[in-house]
C-alpha cells in the first residue's frame, strides 16, 4: 500500500442478495485531501460508502484503511480505527439532546478531555448548536441537523470523514457553510471522502474525483481536469 494513501479500495464487488450493484471498484484516497465521488441517482454512490464503513456487506474485494485490511471488521470497529461516516439520513438520535448527541459521537474515545475539546470546537464552528444544546435533535431544522451531524462526527476524532449527500435538502446558504467547514477540516489534517449530487460544488472543493456510472468507475482524475471534460459538462453541469 502506498504510504501517502489513507484509504485503498481494490476490486470491490457489492450487491444485495443476488442483485449486484457495483462492479470492480478501485479507489485511492490520499492523506489530507478531499476526494469526491459523483454520479447520477442510483449509480451506487451511497452503496459504495456504506460498504466502506461496513453497514452493508461486500461480495468480494479489499478495503485497506491506514495500511490495515478492514474488510472483515464490524462497523463499530471501523469507527474505532477513526473511519467515520455521516450517512445521508444524518445519523442522529432524535430523542437525545444536541449535547447528548455530541457526547455519543465521542463513544469510542477514551480521553474525556478530547471529547470536551471537540464539542467546544463544534460549538465554535456552529454557534447555533450551543444555543440548542439542551433541545432534542429531532426538533432541529434540517440545516441544524446537518450541522449537528457534522459536529458529532468530528467528536469521534476521524482520520477519514465520509459524507453521504451532505447538501441534500439544505438551503444554499447552509450548503456554503458546510463546504466552508470541509475546507477548515482539511486544514486540521482530516481527510474527506465526499459523495455528492451537487457536482459543480463538489468538483470545486475536491482535489480528486471519481465518477460512478451504472455501478462502475466511469472516469477519474484531478477535479480541476475532470471539470473541463466535455462529457461531464454535458451530463452533470448542464453546459
Amino acid at each position: 500500500m502506498n504510504k501517502t494513501n489513507i484509504l485503498e479500495v481494490e476490486g470491490l464487488n457489492i450487491g444485495y442478495r443476488s442483485l449486484q450493484v457495483l462492479w470492480d471498484i478501485n479507489i485511492e484516497v490520499k492523506k489530507n485531501t478531499i476526494v469526491s465521488i459523483i454520479g447520477a441517482n442510483g449509480s451506487g454512490k451511497s452503496t459504495l460508502v456504506k460498504a466502506i464503513t461496513g453497514i452493508i456487506p461486500i461480495m468480494s474485494g479489499r478495503i485497506k484503511f491506514r495500511e490495515k485490511e478492514i474488510s472483515n471488521l464490524l462497523p463499530h470497529e471501523r469507527v474505532k480505527e477513526r473511519l467515520v461516516m455521516i450517512p445521508d439520513e444524518r445519523g442522529l438520535f432524535p430523542e437525545m439532546t444536541v449535547l447528548e448527541n455530541l457526547q455519543m459521537g465521542g463513544y469510542p474515545i477514551k480521553d474525556k478531555a478530547k471529547i470536551e475539546e471537540a464539542i467546544i470546537w463544534g460549538f465554535d464552528l456552529f454557534p447555533i448548536l450551543k444555543k440548542r444544546a439542551h433541545q432534542n435533535a429531532g426538533s432541529l431544522s434540517g440545516g441544524e441537523q446537518q450541522m449537528l451531524a457534522m459536529a458529532k462526527a468530528l467528536v469521534a476524532q476521524p482520520q477519514l470523514l465520509i459524507l453521504d449527500e451532505p447538501s441534500s435538502g439544505l438551503a444554499p446558504i447552509i450548503i456554503d457553510k458546510m463546504f466552508q467547514v470541509l475546507i477548515d477540516i482539511k486544514k486540521k489534517n482530516i481527510t474527506v471522502l465526499l459523495v455528492e449530487q451537487n457536482v459543480r460544488r463538489s468538483l470545486k472543493i475536491s482535489d480528486y474525483c471519481y465518477v460512478l456510472e451504472n455501478g462502475r468507475i466511469g472516469m477519474e482524475g484531478l477535479s480541476a481536469s475532470i471539470k473541463d471534460k466535455e462529457e461531464i459538462k454535458e451530463l452533470y453541469l448542464g453546459m
Binding site: T53, G54, I55, L74, P75, H76, V79, K80, V84, M85, I86, P87, E89, R90, G91, L92, F93, P94, E95, M96, E100, Q103, M104, G105, Y107, P108, S139, K152, A156
Partner: protein, 300 residues
Amino acid sequence: MALQYIVNGLMLGIVYSMIGVGFSLIFGIVRVLNFAYGEFFMIAAYAAFFLASVFGIPIWMVFAINFILMFAVGWVSERALIKPLRYRTDAHGEHSGVIIATFGLQVILQSLALLLFKGTHRGADNYTSGNFMVGDILISNERLFMTVVSIVVLLCILAFMKYSKVGCALRAVSQNRTAAQLSGINVNMVYGIAFGLSTALVAIAGTLLLPFYNVYPTVGVIPMGKAFSVTLIGGLGNIGGAILAGPILGVLEALASGYISTQTKDAVAFACVILVLIAFPGGLGEMLKRIRTEWKGIRR
C-alpha cells in the same frame, strides 16, 4: 372502599410497570417480541422458591442471585437463539424466524418445568407480615415491600439508561440503529445487554410475586398478559409509557375485582387496552411525548 381498591391497585401496578418495562426494553432495542418472557418469570420464581423456602437463603440474597442469574440466562438466550436468526429473513423480508424461536423457547421451558417439577403448585411464605392503617386504608407490609422494591429497581434502571455509558448506547440503538453503529457502538453487545436486563427485571418480579401467585409450569401466562397489556397501553418500546401504564392497569384490575368479580379483571384489563389503542394508536407514551413537545412549544 374505592380508595382502598385504588391504593391496592397502585401498589401492585408498580410491579406490573416493572414487568412492562422489561418487555418493552427488548422490543424497543432488539425489535423482538419475546414470547418466552413469562417463562423467564417462571424460572425465577422456581429459583426463588428453592433458594428461599428449601435452602433458607436470606431474601435480599435471593433477589441478588436471581438478578444476576437471570441476566445471564437472558444474555445466553439472545446469543444462542436470537443472534443466529437475526440476519435471516423469510420470503417477505420479515424476521418471523426470531418470533417463532421465542415461541418455541416458551414451549420448551414450560415442558422442561413440567418434567422436572411436575404440575404441583408451590407456594412460599410472605416475605414480610403484618399490616397498618393509614386513615381508613389498610396497607399490608407485603404489598408495601413489593412496591418499594419495584420503585427502587425502576429508578435504578432509569438512572442507568440516562446516565451510564452503556445505558446511553441502549437508548441510541433504540432510536437509530445505523447511527449507533456509525457512532462506534457494538450493536451485538447492546442486544445481549438489553435481553439480559429485561430478563433480570422479570426475574425480580417473579421473585416478588412468588407468594402471591405461587409457582407452577404455566405461571408465565400471568406476567405475559400483564406485559402485553402494559406495553400496549404504554406504547410498544416506550419505557416511560410502560411505567405509567402499570399503575393504571393495577387500579382497573382492583376496581373490577372489587366491584364486579375477580374473574372479570382480565377482561376489563384487555378492554382497556383496546380502548386505549382506539383512542391513541401509539399508546399513552406517544401521547405524553406529544404533550411534552407542545408544552415546550408554548413555553418558548
